[in-house]
Symmetry: C2
Subunit: 223 residues, 2 copies
DNA sequence: CATTAAAATGAGTTATCACTCACTTATTTT
DNA sequence: AAAATAAGTGAGTGATAACTCATTTTAATG
């Protein structure tokens, strides 16, 4: 069960780009840190310059606007988050038949959690955008959601055929799984007190497995 | 099972305050709407004045700063959210022994969901604050979390004694429940497409009940 | 109706922020 | 090492935002 080793998507991050000068890298890092700490609007370009140890003009050397700077930070994430969240299933998860639900859940979420952990700050910035920019929200969601529903749907349907998973509508299954995942991520991102990462992660898989295990009491109760 | 009728906490909202002029009420309403739509920082006081149909000076008549205006909006929520989230259990839930898990889950979450639905905008503004204001986050959490853990803990322990609930650590039980709740609320707040409220809510209770039902496979798997 | 107090106004003030540009410093190229 | 190109600088600019205040409008009171 060593299968889903962590991909190297996120090792190819800011520090990877070759044609970038040290000061520019410092600017990117400072921007990311500040955006995650205080939010995009609460961060001024002079804040960024100060944190990065450069002149304010330098901030504008490569990126013409503050928004472009944010987008440059999010670009690599946006490019990878779609495959990570969705497309991967076709090659990996879909072809393989999982012997148990727990194996499936573990396989599916281990690398996603790892990805999220390695990109907590970036995710915070993305969330800020999604929460208050309706246009971008739809743009991002329309990009991710259908693929995800489709790909995950295939796996779920296969598990349903094998009677390994509860017979609920796929979107509801997805919502309950994502809720658990995001609840876990929220504790990471907000640095809530009393978070023991390892235990939480084991628990995450346990809960997800339990949700998905078929049983007799699974009809949805109308009110 | 008609028990938890919706409290009138949230009927005593903005429109309740007697010593307030129509224009001031319009300002509060416009502020709330805009903060929820665009975020606090992206909303200017002239935006507010325009939306409310008043002069910009009028915005500053009662509240000296923009932040004070936001706080005035959040005050009634903050005053009620604590009892709603936590203290209520002592009178209501704790004394009563629930015949089944589903009865418990239904009782606990029906009024909370109703509260959340009636205050979606306010919650959005609170979330924005909590997400990017570390100080306030700790302030709010230190106010809510301990009460909640304590009160919910009592109920959970009682259910544990009756073997009606899974034997997991209380904080982990809480996290999984809150994850489901917030996942549901996220769909409300972000107006995600394809959300059928009634079905979702019935599903929410089903999933929570399933998570909590004791079973043989409930030991938490180490990694 | 006259007087007084409160509410509302909007032009104006101050501060900050995103962004520019003429210029200096560092790095390549020949 | 000279020339050329790129990177970096920081004072400066225009725009916008929060906030003020002298004045006007509305409401309350006797």
């Amino acid at each position: 069960m060593e299968r889903p080793r962590i991909r190297d998507y996120f090792q190819q991050d800011l520090s990877q780009n070759e044609t970038i000068t040290p000061k520019q890298r410092a600017i990117l890092q400072a921007s990311l840190d500040l955006f995650a700490e205080k939010g995009f609007d609460q961060t001024s370009t002079s804040d960024i310059a100060q944190r990065a140890g450069v002149a304010e003009g330098t901030v504008y050397r490569r990126y013409k606007t503050k928004a472009a700077l944010r987008d440059a930070i999010l670009a690599p994430i946006a490019a990878h988050i779609v495959p990570i969240l969705a497309s991967d299933f076709s090659e990996d998860a879909l072809r393989q038949r999982y012997p148990s639900l727990q194996a499936f859940v573990t396989a599916i979420f281990t690398d996603r959690v790892a990805f999220a952990k390695a990109n907590v700050k970036e995710l915070k910035v993305i969330f800020e955008m999604v929460a208050f920019d309706a246009e971008r929200r739809e743009q991002i969601l329309s990009q991710i959601a259908p693929k995800m529903v489709k790909q995950m749907g295939s796996v779920i349907n296969q598990l349903k055929a094998d009677h390994l998973i509860v017979d609920w509508p796929n979107d509801l299954i997805l919502q309950s799984l994502l809720s658990q995942l995001f609840g876990y991520l929220a504790r990471l991102m907000l640095e809530l007190p009393g978070t023991e990462i390892e235990r939480e992660q084991a628990y995450l898989i346990t809960v997800m497995t339990k949700i998905l295990t078929p049983g007799e009491h699974d009809q949805i109760t109308g009110q």
